[in-house]
Amino acid sequence: MKKTSTPMVPAGRAPGGEPLLVVDDLHVEFTTRQGVVRAVNGVSYSLNPGETLAVLGESGSGKSVTAQAIMGILDTPPARVSRGEIRFRGTDLLRLPEEARSRIRGRRIAMIFQDALSALNPVFTVGFQIGEMFRVHRGASRRDAEKKAIELMDRVRIPGARQRVHDYPHQFSGGMRQRIMIAMSIALDPEVLIADEPTTALDVTVQAQIMELLAELRRESDMGLILITHDLGVVADVADRIAVMYGGRIVEKAPVHDIYRTPAHPYAKGLLDSVPRVDQKGQELFAIKGMPPNLLDMPSGCSFHPRCPYRQDDCVTDAPPLYEIGPTRASACHYWREVLDGSHG
C-alpha cells in the first residue's frame, strides 16, 4: 500500500526485523548567547507500523525538539544534533544528504503542528495547500490536485468539502482547521505521522473528535503514529505505549495501561496524581512542587531530584540510567521499586 520509494531508504521491513523508526541515543543542543542548551540528552525510542507511541512531557522537556529532529526541520544553527541516530527502516536519516532527506519529509514521514491557524499559510486556500502535496511530490495537474484535496477533506470529515475547498484557513473553525492540517499530512499516505500537540489549541469536545479521527486514520493504514502531548487525558484511549520525558531525557517507558495503574517514576506518578478526579471533588489539587529545570543549568545527578518526594542522597550525585524494570518497561529512577510500591498502595 506504500507507493513511494526512495532509493536510499528501502520500503518494506527493515533488515533484522528492526522497527519502522528508531531514535537511538539522540542528543540535540542549541547554541544561545547564554550558553549551550542541551535540549535532548540521549533520547531513545522506537515505533512499529500501526503503533501509537505517546511522548509525554511539559514544555521544554525536549519532546518537540526530538520530533523536529526526526523531520529534519530543526533550525540549524542554532540547533545541532551532536550525537545519536534516527533510523527509518534501518537507514540513519541524519547521514542522508539533504536531497534524499527531503524526499522522505512530507511523503513518508509527515507532521501535524499544534496551532493550525498559524501553521497554515493565511494567503492560500486550503485546497491549494492540501493539493500542493500532489502537485509538488506527484506532479499532479491543478485540477487533479484539487480533486484529491476534496477527497482528503471528505476523508477527515469536513462538511461540504467541495464548496469549501476554495476557502481560506481563517474561514474555518479551530477543529476544522486542524482537520485540514491532518488531511494535508496524510495526503501521501506517510508511514510515520508525528502529531505535535495536535489538540492543545482546541476546545475539550473538539479535542476528543480530533483524537478519534487520528486513531481511526491510524487503524485504516499501518501508519505509525507519534503523539506528542503534555495532556495525560488525551493519550489514554489512543496510545499503545508511552514515553515520559523530563529535562531532555526519557524518564519512563511503558505500555499505556501499566503506567496509568502503576507508574514507576516519581515524575510520571506526579503527573498522574495531578489529574483532577471527580471522586476527589472538594479536595485540594495535587501539584508537582517546584519548577521545570532550567536547561542552561541542569541539576546535578537526577534532574528531577529538586522536586522529588523519593529523593535520597545519591540522587543528587548520580544520574540514574534508564533501568529495565520489566520486559516492556523502563524507569530512570534509582528508587523505582519504592515508587512502584507507592503506586500500589
Binding site: R105, G106, S118, A119, P122, V123
Partner: protein, 312 residues
C-alpha cells in the same frame, strides 16, 4: 466591493477641496501683484491693469475667487496663466515627463529593493546581509542633492569622458536613457527603505509556523521562499510602493532641477517663482488626486493579496 470604491471616491472630494483651498490660500497670501509682475520693470497702463484684474477676478474677495476656480475645475478647466496660456495644456506635457520619471524610479525601487532585500534575508546574519544593511543606511543618510550631483558627475560626465556613453548628463533629448540616472537618484532612499522592509519582513516570515509547515511538507526551498514566504511579504511591500508613487511625483522637484528634466517639478518651482497661481494650484490638485487614487489602488490590492481583508 464597488460600493466600497464609490464610498472611497466620495471621501476623496473633501480631501481634494481642502487641499486646493489650502494651496490657493497660500498662493493668495504671497506678497506682490501678479499683474504688475507680468510687466516686469515697466509701468503698466492702469486701464489695462483694471481689465486684467477684472478678467482674472482679482478684485473679488478670496472665497469668491476660489469659488470661480472650483467651478471651472469641475468643468475640467484648470484656468489660464496671466500670459494667457491654458494651464491644462502646460501640465499635460510636463506630467508626461514626471510620470516617466516616477515610473522609472518605481520599477528600479521594486526590482533593486526587493532583490537586495531577498538576498539579505536569505543570508541574514552573514557578510552580504551586513554589507547591504550598511549600504542602505548610507543611501538613506545622504540627501538627494548629493547623490544627484555625484552620480551626474561620475556616471554622466566622467563615464562619457572615458568613452562609455551610457547615461546622458541631463535632459530628455536622448529618450528613455535620460530617465535612468535621475530615476535612480529619485528612487535612492526608497530603494534603501524597500530593501530593509523586504529583508525584515522576510526574515520574520521565515520564522513563522506556516513556513515550518511548508518545509515539513517536503517542498523545495525555492517554493518555500518564492511562493509561501514572498507571497506574504508582498503585502507590506505593495503598500509601501503604492504610497511611494505619490511621494516620488512630489519629490521630483529637486531631481528634475538637477537633471534639467522638463517635468512638473521644474514647472512647479518656476510657477511659484513667477506667482502663476493657477498653475501651482492645478499641479497640486492633480498631485493630490494621484495620491488619493494610488492609495485607493493599494487598498484594493491589499484585499487581493490578503484574503483576511474584505471590504464591504
Amino acid at each position: 466591493m464597488s460600493r466600497y470604491i464609490l464610498r472611497r471616491l466620495i471621501q476623496a472630494i473633501p480631501v481634494l477641496l481642502g487641499a486646493t483651498l489650502l494651496i490657493y490660500a497660500i498662493v493668495f497670501a504671497l506678497p506682490g501683484d501678479p499683474i504688475a509682475a507680468l510687466a516686469g520693470e515697466k509701468r503698466m497702463d492702469p486701464d489695462i491693469v483694471d481689465v486684467l484684474r477684472e478678467q482674472y477676478h482679482l478684485n473679488d474677495p478670496f472665497l469668491v475667487q476660489y469659488w470661480h476656480y472650483i467651478v471651472g475645475l469641475l468643468g475640467g478647466d484648470f484656468g489660464t496663466t496671466f500670459a494667457g496660456v491654458g494651464v491644462g495644456d502646460i501640465m499635460a506635457g510636463k506630467f508626461q515627463v514626471t510620470i516617466n520619471l516616477a515610473v522609472t524610479a518605481l520599477v528600479m525601487e521594486a526590482v533593486i529593493g526587493v532583490g537586495l532585500g531577498l538576498y539579505a534575508a536569505l543570508r541574514h546574519g552573514g557578510a552580504g546581509d551586513s554589507l547591504i544593511l550598511a549600504a542602505t543606511l548610507v543611501l538613506i543618510s545622504v540627501p538627494v542633492l548629493v547623490t544627484g550631483f555625484v552620480l551626474q558627475l561620475l556616471l554622466g560626465v566622467r563615464l562619457k569622458q572615458a568613452g562609455i556613453d551610457l547615461f546622458p548628463v541631463a535632459g530628455v533629448s536622448e529618450g528613455w536613457r535620460g530617465y535612468l540616472l535621475p530615476g535612480f537618484v529619485l528612487a535612492g532612499t526608497s530603494i534603501a527603505y524597500l530593501t530593509r522592509l523586504t529583508r525584515n519582513s522576510l526574515v520574520e516570515i521565515m520564522r513563522t509556523d506556516y513556513i515550518r509547515t511548508a518545509v515539513a511538507k517536503g517542498l523545495p526551498r525555492s517554493r518555500v521562499v518564492g511562493r509561501h514566504a514572498l507571497r506574504n511579504a508582498l503585502i507590506p511591500l505593495i503598500t509601501y510602493l503604492g504610497a511611494d508613487l505619490g511621494a516620488l511625483m512630489g519629490g521630483a522637484v529637486i531631481t528634475e532641477t538637477i537633471f534639467n528634466l522638463p517635468g512638473i517639478g521644474q514647472q512647479l518651482f518656476s510657477s511659484v517663482y513667477l506667482r502663476e497661481q493657477p498653475v501651482v494650484v492645478g499641479i497640486v490638485t492633480v498631485l493630490v488626486l494621484i495620491y488619493i487614487l494610488a492609495n485607493l489602488v493599494v487598498d484594493l490590492l491589499y484585499a487581493v493579496l490578503d484574503p483576511r481583508i474584505r471590504y464591504e
